[in-house]
């Protein structure tokens, strides 16, 4: 334990800028995964345990597309479209069969698919880890702000995350589709009775959630090594995020993700050996104080 390091950092603007931005960086990728998770839960009432696998597949799709075309835009597109389509198929063929039933049954289907996806990745892309490499466009020296260091690519990442967060918030509150989705999350029978095809709606929401996770994977691919099973730790962390923020709340996912990011960056200064434990501790405290999470009341 090293509280002095924490205090020293609070006294230095350079340290604060660097640590806060890196908290946001960790938080943004987490947010993209967690927001899909929370959206799917809010509307479909399904806890999608395969969400980490979508993140992993997104990264591998991006890796392959980047290798073929050399274009980072194409890589991101492949990650998003590929996982989005997969999400639709997955929802229609498999998840839709266990709606309303036992939560354990949903869990089991997801568990089965996690195992399958991990092995499929190993068969298709090999057991060894891979690295995509940073696109040339981002090979810039990092920016220096008030003495703190912010890499160009991470600035891009944070902007991406915030734009998506804002877009989602606007989309859900302003557009017709968004309103339908919110309505469906409150009362699916009513929406169905109004002549809206809920099956299609569900598939779209699930596909969109998968798309966001895949996009996060694509965005992570230049800086994280790719390996079968890589979706696992981010899945667990996204769960912590959604539980802290409140299942079904988009704002909660954003705040939760950033909080976890900050806990990680400042925790590593003050409590280097217990950073992981700190996250679980925080989650337990939130759950005990407010079981529905920080923003748990309003759904979607």
């Amino acid at each position: 334990m090293n509280p002095d390091a924490l205090l020293t950092c609070f006294a230095s603007s350079a340290c604060l800028v660097t640590q806060v931005t890196s908290g946001f960086i960790i938080g943004m990728l987490l947010f993209l995964v967690a927001v899909g998770l929370t959206l799917i839960f809010g509307v479909l009432k399904v806890v999608n345990f395969t969400h980490g696998a979508f993140y992993m597949l997104g990264a591998y799709f991006a890796f392959t597309a980047y290798g073929l075309t050399g274009s980072f835009v194409a890589a991101l597109a492949a990650a998003a479209v590929g996982t989005g389509l997969l999400g639709v198929v997955f929802e229609r063929w498999f998840i839709s069969r266990v709606y309303g039933g036992n939560v354990l049954m949903q869990l089991l289907v997801c568990y089965g698919f996690i195992l399958i996806f991990d092995d499929v990745v190993r068969i298709v892309w090999g057991a060894e880890f891979r690295s995509m490499g940073m696109p040339d466009a981002f090979m810039l020296p990092p920016f220096i702000v008030a003495g703190g260091v912010i890499p160009a690519y991470y600035l891009f990442l944070i902007v991406c995350g915030l734009v998506i967060a804002a877009g989602l918030g606007m989309g859900l509150s302003r557009t017709r589709l968004g309103k339908t989705i919110r309505a469906a999350s409150h009362n699916p029978d009513m929406v169905s009775a109004l002549g809206i095809n809920t099956g299609l709606l569900y598939a779209c929401v699930f596909g969109f959630g998968g798309l966001l996770a895949g996009l996060a994977g694509g965005l992570a691919a230049p800086v994280r090594s790719l390996t079968s099973g890589m979706g696992f730790s981010i899945l667990i962390e996204s769960f912590i995020v959604t539980v802290i923020g409140g299942m079904g709340s988009i704002l909660g996912a954003l705040v939760g993700a950033i909080l976890i990011g900050l806990i990680r960056t400042f925790g590593t200064l003050g409590f280097p050996l217990f950073t992981e434990g700190l996250m679980y501790l925080f989650m337990a405290v939130v759950l005990i104080a407010k079981p529905t999470g920080l923003f748990g009341k309003d759904i979607a």
């Binding site: 960790i26 190993r122 230049p222 994280r224 730790s233 990680r264 200064l269």
Partner: protein, 418 residues
């Protein structure tokens, strides 16, 4: 992506190997009972580090083929029975027991990582069969007399050797370049902690004015190193030590690159000079100091180059650090059987004590199974700096085994183990 490494491959290969051995075996043993000897090999074939397990399997099979062609273990052709433990210690224990009890294996090649290795060690203690640890580098496995058993040997690197060689090498650089303020980024588990502590102990011994000003301990398999990197940026050490490995090391390097972290300090990464990491990093920074893991240009001998190329030609991938260790063990067993004149585990264990064999992986062309603590010494060990293309680490400074052994003896004494 031409990867054909399925169980089917293995079985058909094994049938071939056994068949080939039977027909090729030398005339003077053809008359004797050339009964196949089964050797059990628990390793990690699935999950996160499956690549290491398959590279262990490949190397062992490649050598078994050669040994069988030359008559096998005292005339008995070897059949490897390879099982997946999924990297779980309780599975490693179960599989090891099953290999002996059900599959009639007479000895074990324990190709598990550390945790699984300790579990298999307990099985060997229980069942009394000959057991060769080929991948567990944790020093205590053989150095701690409380853990030692007469039937288990370590046929691979050992952490303390690497640290002694690395600490000495790093100290010489530190003194030449006046690097006094050091940072550490290592994985937070037993291997990472022990290796780092030992490395720093030797570094400070040879360069007493070195001080460690910052430490970051990311979790093993952590995907994101941003917090570690920014912490290091704040502290601005002159040199950085890391024993991250595999995908963790490459992630760390990729993420450091966008912070321009490694341009600001000398980087000592003991596990960098392994083909799995060297070939994966897209923009490998120049001048990373690393210990050798397996590299076909060190020792720079035709035998070593031929072995590395042979492996690559056969399996279409580079050998790993685990490959040479599992190749060596097969040769070690063959030599022990030859010396003992028998494929009996007990007699071979006696023959293994102090056994010295010729091998491409030896620092001077030989390695020795030290009798005193049943562990391997004299293998190729050295440090050098990286370049982004083949041969990746052009000049490796060999470690001084005489000094390594002295330091090791002293360390054992300090632990109360000698």
């Amino acid at each position: 992506m031409t990867r054909k490494k399925s169980g089917l491959d293995r079985r058909s290969f094994m049938a071939l190997a056994a068949g080939g051995a039977a027909t090729l075996s030398m005339p003077h043993i053809a008359g004797a009972q050339a009964k196949t000897i089964r050797i059990g090999m628990p390793t990690i074939l699935s999950g996160r580090v499956a690549q290491l397990g398959t590279s262990s399997r490949n190397a062992a099979m490649m050598e078994v083929e050669k040994v069988n062609a030359a008559g096998g273990l005292a005339g008995r052709p070897i059949e490897l029975v390879i099982r997946d433990s999924k990297g779980q210690p309780q599975e490693a224990a179960r599989v090891a027991r099953e290999l002996i009890n059900t599959d009639n294996c007479e000895m074990l090649i324990d190709a598990e990582a550390s945790t699984g290795g300790f579990a298999v060690h307990e099985v060997a203690r229980d069942l009394g069969v000959l057991c060769m640890h080929t991948n567990s580098e944790t020093s205590s496995l053989t150095a701690d007399p409380k853990l030692r058993i007469p039937n288990a040997f370590r046929c691979c690197r050992q952490g303390i050797h690497d640290s002694a060689a690395g600490g000495n090498y790093a100290a010489s650089i530190a003194k030449a370049k006046n690097l006094t303020r050091w940072g550490v980024v290592s994985p937070d588990y037993a291997y990472g902690r022990d290796t780092t502590a030992e490395f720093l102990m030797y570094l400070k011994r040879f360069a007493p004015n070195v001080e460690v000003i910052t430490e970051a301990w990311p979790k093993i398999f952590q995907a994101d190193y941003t917090e570690a990197i920014t912490k290091l940026l704040q502290a601005k050490p002159q040199a950085l030590y890391s024993c991250l490995w595999g995908g963790d090391l490459t992630s760390f390097i990729d993420q450091s690159a966008i912070y321009a972290l490694l341009n600001q300090m000398e980087f000592f990464a003991v596990n960098m000079a392994d083909y799995t990491a060297l070939t994966v990093v897209k923009n490998l920074p120049k001048g990373i100091h690393s210990g050798n893991r397996y590299i076909k240009t060190f020792p720079q001998t035709p035998a070593n180059a031929a072995w590395g190329d042979g492996y690559r030609a056969k399996f279409n991938e580079y050998p790993t650090n685990w490959s040479w260790q599992n190749a060596l063990v097969v040769n070690m067993l063959a030599a022990a059987a030859k010396k003992a004149g028998s494929a009996d585990g007990k007699k071979m264990a006696e023959a293994l004590m102090g056994l010295k064999i010729e091998t491409p992986f030896g620092a001077d062309g030989t390695v020795t199974m030290r009798a005193e603590d049943q562990t391997l010494i004299g293998y190729a060990i050295g440090w050098g700096t990286t370049i982004p293309t083949e041969p990746y680490v052009p000049g490796v400074t060999p470690g001084d085994w005489k000094q390594i052994l002295e330091l090791e003896a002293e360390w054992k004494k300090s632990k109360g183990w000698a």
